[in-house]
């Protein structure tokens, strides 16, 4: 319903590159998660790209944790490309999300 966040899913062979842009909040996360979680689970491997995310709140963090734990149940890990925006990156650090989710260096 909201236009402030968008999702692009790009399949390369067995691998999924999911790219979120815009703002992750309570209004956008439920919809995003409904679309993301099955795609991530179906793919052999996946990367969640947050480099274009400018805002993330606790609902966004919760979504990331939920996705990570769903993958862990399958014996997999959620691989993330952190936001390019320094402030948004700080939110992830402040919430100590980096302890449960593997962050890819964007230069990889």
């Amino acid at each position: 319903m909201s236009s402030i966040a968008s999702l692009e899913l790009e399949h390369v062979d067995e691998s999924l590159h999911a790219r979120i842009s815009g703002e992750l909040d309570l209004a956008t996360c439920d919809d995003l998660r409904r679309r993301l979680q099955p795609a991530l689970l179906q793919a052999g491997s996946s990367v969640l790209d947050l480099s274009a995310v400018s805002f993330i709140d606790s609902a966004g963090l919760r979504m990331l944790i939920q996705l990570a734990s769903a993958l862990r149940n399958e014996g997999r890990t959620l691989e993330l490309i952190p936001p390019a925006d320094a402030w948004a990156r700080k939110v992830l650090t402040v919430s100590q999300l980096d302890r449960v989710i593997v962050f890819h260096d964007p230069s990889d």
């Binding site: 703002e23 309570l26 709140d57 606790s58 609902a59 963090l61 919760r62 944790i65 919430s95």
Partner: protein, 1020 residues
């Protein structure tokens, strides 16, 4: 040879009897004097004597009754300069008198020689005792004058011829009127007599009165250094011995003659001679026995100190010597109806079956007391002959026989001594003489013992009164004083005491109580609480207290039947086992405050009687006044406190960039409103600081304080352009107009603060004779500033100079009243130098710290006792310049539906507002996220079913952004909010991580979250 040995024996007995009598008289004179010294020593301890209060002293002496104490010539006081002092007459110098010189030099009591008083017609003995002032140093002499005829009562002991010589050899008295004081002939002999501790007998001398050829028995009285002589003509003393000798010699002579005439008659004559010798021996034996028992009696009575002992000795002597079947001692009670008797406990032999003195006994005793003469009724016939009205009452012809002796002392008849014999009983002349002596000596001893006991009781009473009052006055509050009163009474004076005051229902309940046996305290408390009676109950403590009708119940066991008591009460009474008690009223000047119950237990052996009532009444009267003072004091203190608070600003105003602190400490007892004040207020574009000191204390000072404060406030508002000097002029006129009699004046320091464009503070100072104010520079230096203006309220048209100062950031000022620099340690003042040094030692201190430190320093300096009020007002100009006043405080307000979709709108508008007011980017984004979380929480938790609203208020104030997010719903408990445990509170965690302060307030009306974030980055 029998005859010679009999003669020698007889003369020795006669000489011994003389010496014994002299010793007895010396003892009596001595104990009389010692008693006077003791009495005066007790008087010297009395409050008015110690304080040197001459009128109070004489009122006290009159109350004591000098006559009653044996000072027939009066009691007086001589100051340390040797001048006799009496109210209303100029001092008379007596410093040349021996007794004055002796006491002032040695500080010990002294008994003078016989002196002729200036005003008295009679020679007197002066008993002089040193007095000490309240500083315990010798302050003078209390003197008691014993007129010499008073000593004649001592002579009553010994009806023989007694002469008393003072240490200068003057005859203090001898028989007959004292018409002159003569010196004895032989001073050397006098000295040796005085130094002979055992006394003795001199034969064939002229006695001091010049009578020739006498036998003198003598003894010395150590207290007075007097010599007591018992002198009689030689032939009278030895008459009996001579008679025996002569009759023996004549019998011998006759026998010799008859022997010449014929031997037939010799047997008879020798027999007669032997009988004569036998009679002489018997007579000698009798005399020796009489002398012995008199000697024993005198020494036993001399050793008896208290009344019980005197009576014991007298009774024992009479019983042993006379073999009486029954005996009693009846103490005389003078009543309006005449003479009545009280039987001395333990000698109830002669009471009838109802415990009363039989009427016939009473009649005879009364007669004996009235006539002061012994009565010997040897048989019923004699009783009937002397008391015909009693003949019907006295039964059998062979009995009884009665002997009744009066015991008489200086003060009058004290007791009747009653001996009863079942059979008729002839009383021999020797026995009569012995009983006469017994009665006389017992009477004197009894009088002495009674006086001694009375003096001791009076002394104890006086001590109790003064010690209790002093102890109570050490405390300030009613409760503490009440506790001291009870402490003073129990256990020293009483076994129980309870101080009770009316409760809400009017029933009297104990405030403080105590029992000598501590374990009984709960029992006494329960007993008293059980019977919290009000004034409606006659004889209750309440009724006694209200009507001021104190009373004593002497015998509780006998009276207990008069009360209807339930079982539990009886049990408590039995446990406490009271013997006697008193109900007393504690009153203020004109109203009852409460009641005091004082009691004695049977176990302690102590007892309260009617005779204790005057002391108890005085005690309760004094205690009542002291307690009322505490009540008044507490009330005045409370009123003064309230009034004082109303005269000071409830809180200091907020002045931008200026920190203020103030202190007020009431000096003295705090019962009166002080005259110091401070104030701080805003008028137009300025702020004013005021410190003032109004002369005096109390209501008038309070009125003046209010006048000063409100006049300055009103004038500053009405005349915004006027400076402090002009405001003081207005105040001066206003004081003169409203308090026209110049009775009130004051000093004021007035300071105006005005912000200047260059970030400094302009300070204008005017002073009306107020102590200098201090300017505290940021670098720690301190300047005194004192524009010279006159007092307010004295002269019209006074002008006040103004001083202009500039305060840079970090600078401050301090205003104070003279109570600060004039707080005292002894005579030394705290002073301006100490104040300056103290302030210099605290560079950069905040006004709060500064003011607190000054107050605690002067408190400490004055030993915790500030006599004057202290007011302080300190200000420090803040380091950071304030925002220009013109710029409005930035604020943000938004109300949104509590939906997730509202979050984006919130973020956009809030971010825009923060940008507008120059909040840095990171801070702004932190704030936006935190606010987002707060609103998200509201949408998530508050309104699960239906959408409500959430409001967001934001301000920028004091270098921080303050946000409040408010909803009107209830947050659900976390366990119910549907989130897995590890995700709970993540929103709150984010807020806390990003903000400086997060507060969540949940109430029935809803929840609000307050956020604060300081702006470290420079705002643009």
């Amino acid at each position: 040879m029998l005859l010679w040995s009999n003669y020698r024996h007889d003369t020795e007995r006669a000489r011994e009897a003389l010496a014994v009598r002299a010793a007895g008289a010396a003892f009596s004179a001595d104990s009389f004097l010692e008693e006077r010294i003791r009495i005066l020593s007790a008087i010297a301890q009395a409050e008015p004597v110690r304080t040197g209060d001459v009128p109070g002293m004489y009122a006290y002496f009159v109350r004591l009754g000098p006559e009653r104490l044996g000072f027939t010539g009066g009691i007086g006081w001589i100051d340390a300069a040797g001048r006799i002092r009496s109210p209303g007459t100029p001092p008379v110098d007596l410093s040349d008198r021996d007794y004055v010189r002796h006491v002032l030099r040695t500080g010990t009591p002294y008994v003078s020689r016989a002196v002729m008083g200036r005003l008295q017609e009679h020679p007197v003995i002066v008993v002089a005792v040193p007095t000490n002032g309240i500083d315990n140093r010798l302050s003078g002499i209390v003197t008691g004058l014993v007129r010499l005829d008073m000593l004649l009562t001592v002579k009553a002991l010994q009806p023989e011829q007694v002469t008393i010589l003072d240490r200068a050899g003057q005859v203090i008295f001898d028989e007959g009127p004292i018409d002159e004081i003569r010196l004895p002939v032989d001073m050397t002999r006098l000295a040796s007599m005085r130094d002979d501790p055992d006394g003795g007998v001199l034969d064939g001398v002229d006695d001091p009165s010049g009578r020739p050829d006498r036998v003198v028995g003598y003894a010395s009285a150590p207290a007075g250094s007097w010599i007591v002589l018992d002198s009689r003509p030689s032939d009278e003393v030895y008459a009996s011995a001579n008679r025996t000798l002569r009759s023996g010699l004549s019998v011998l002579g006759l026998a010799a003659l008859l022997a010449l005439l014929g031997s037939a008659l010799i047997g008879i004559r020798l027999d007669r001679l032997a009988r004569a010798g036998e009679a002489a021996r018997n007579e000698a034996e009798r005399r020796r026995r009489n002398s012995d028992r008199l000697h024993r009696l005198t020494s036993s009575l001399a050793a008896a100190i208290d009344v019980a002992e005197v009576i014991e000795v007298a009774m024992r002597e009479a019983r042993d010597e006379l073999a009486a079947d029954r005996c009693s001692i009846f103490l005389v009670e003078e009543t309006r109806a005449g003479v009545e008797f009280v039987v001395w406990p333990g000698f109830e032999d002669t009471l009838d079956t109802t415990g009363r003195i039989p009427v016939e006994v009473r009649v005879v005793c009364r007669d004996v007391i009235m006539r002061r003469e012994s009565v010997f009724l040897e048989s019923p016939q004699q009783i009937a002959a002397q008391y015909p009205e009693l003949s019907a009452l006295v039964g059998r012809p062979d009995g009884p026989a009665w002997i009744v002796l009066p015991l008489v002392a200086a003060g009058g008849a004290l007791a009747a001594f009653f001996l009863a014999f079942d059979e008729s009983r002839p009383v021999a002349e020797d026995d009569r003489r012995f009983l006469g002596t017994l009665a006389e000596q017992s009477g004197v001893a009894l009088g002495r013992a009674l006086l001694h006991e009375e003096t001791e009781a009076a002394e104890r009473g006086a001590r109790l009164l003064s010690e209790t009052a002093a102890a109570m006055e050490q405390e300030q509050t009613f409760d503490a004083r009440a506790a001291r009163l009870i402490d003073a009474l129990v256990p020293d004076f009483a076994d129980y005491a309870s101080l009770e005051i009316p409760g809400e229902d009017g029933g009297y309940r104990p405030v403080v109580l105590a029992t000598a046996d501590r374990t009984l305290e709960p029992a006494l408390r329960e007993l008293r609480e059980r019977h919290a009676l009000d004034v409606g109950h006659p004889r209750s403590l309440a009724a006694t207290a209200e009507a001021n009708t104190p009373y004593v119940v002497e015998d509780v066991p006998a009276a207990i039947g008069d009360f209807e008591l339930d079982e539990r009460t009886l049990e408590l009474v039995h446990r406490l086992d009271p013997r006697s008690y008193a109900c007393l009223s504690l009153r203020g000047r004109n109203r009852p405050l409460g009641g005091l119950l004082v009691g004695m237990s049977t176990a302690s052996g102590r007892r309260l009687t009617r005779r204790d009532l005057p002391l108890l009444r005085t005690l309760s009267e004094r205690a009542g006044l002291i307690l009322e003072n505490a009540v008044l004091h507490e009330r005045e203190r409370a009123i003064a406190g309230v009034l004082q608070e109303s005269l000071l600003p409830p809180e200091l105003p907020e002045i931008p960039s200026v920190r203020l602190a103030s202190a007020f400490v009431a000096g003295g007892e705090g019962v009166e409103v002080g005259g110091d004040f401070y104030d701080a207020f805003e008028a137009d574009d300025s702020h004013y600081l005021v410190v003032g000191d109004v002369c005096g204390r109390g209501v008038e000072a309070a009125t003046m304080t209010a006048l000063c404060r409100y006049t300055l406030r009103a004038a500053a508002l009405q005349q915004p352009s006027s400076g402090p000097a002009r405001l003081l002029e207005i105040l001066n006129r206003s004081i003169l107009a409203q308090i026209p009699d110049n009775s009130q004046f004051c000093t004021v320091a007035l300071v105006r603060l005005r912000a200047r464009d260059d970030g400094t503070l302009a300070v204008t100072v005017a002073s009306a004779a107020h102590p200098p104010l201090l300017v505290l520079r940021e670098d720690g230096s301190v300047e005194q500033v004192q524009p010279l203006g006159g007092l307010l309220g004295v002269f019209p048209g006074v002008h006040f100079p103004e001083l202009e100062l500039v305060l840079e950031p970090g600078d401050g000022i301090l205003l104070y009243t003279d109570g600060v620099v004039e707080s005292r340690r002894g005579v030394e003042l705290f002073g301006e130098e100490r104040l300056l040094a103290l302030v210099r030692s605290m560079p950069g201190a905040t006004p709060n710290v500064l003011v607190d430190r000054i107050v605690s320093s002067i408190h400490h300096y004055a030993g915790g006792h500030l006599t004057d009020d202290v007011a302080l007002l300190g200000a420090r100009y803040a380091q950071v310049a304030a925002r220009p006043r013109e710029r409005a405080e930035p604020s943000f307000s938004l109300t949104l539906p509590a939906q997730p979709a509202s979050l984006a709108l919130l973020r956009t508008t809030l971010q825009g507002w923060l940008d507008e007011f120059g909040v840095g980017e990171t801070a702004a984004r932190d704030i936006v996220l935190a606010c987002n979380e707060a609103v998200a929480n509201a949408t998530l938790h508050a309104y699960r079913e239906s959408a409500g609203e959430v409001s967001i208020e934001a301000r920028i104030k004091g270098g921080a952004v303050l946000i409040e997010v408010r909803d009107s719903g209830q947050w659900l408990e976390r366990a119910q909010d549907g989130l897995p445990p590890d995700e709970r509170g993540r929103g709150l965690m984010l807020m806390r991580a990003l903000m400086d302060d997060v507060r969540v307030d949940r109430s029935d009306d809803g929840t609000s979250i307050s956020l604060r974030r300081a702006l470290h980055e420079a705002s643009t």
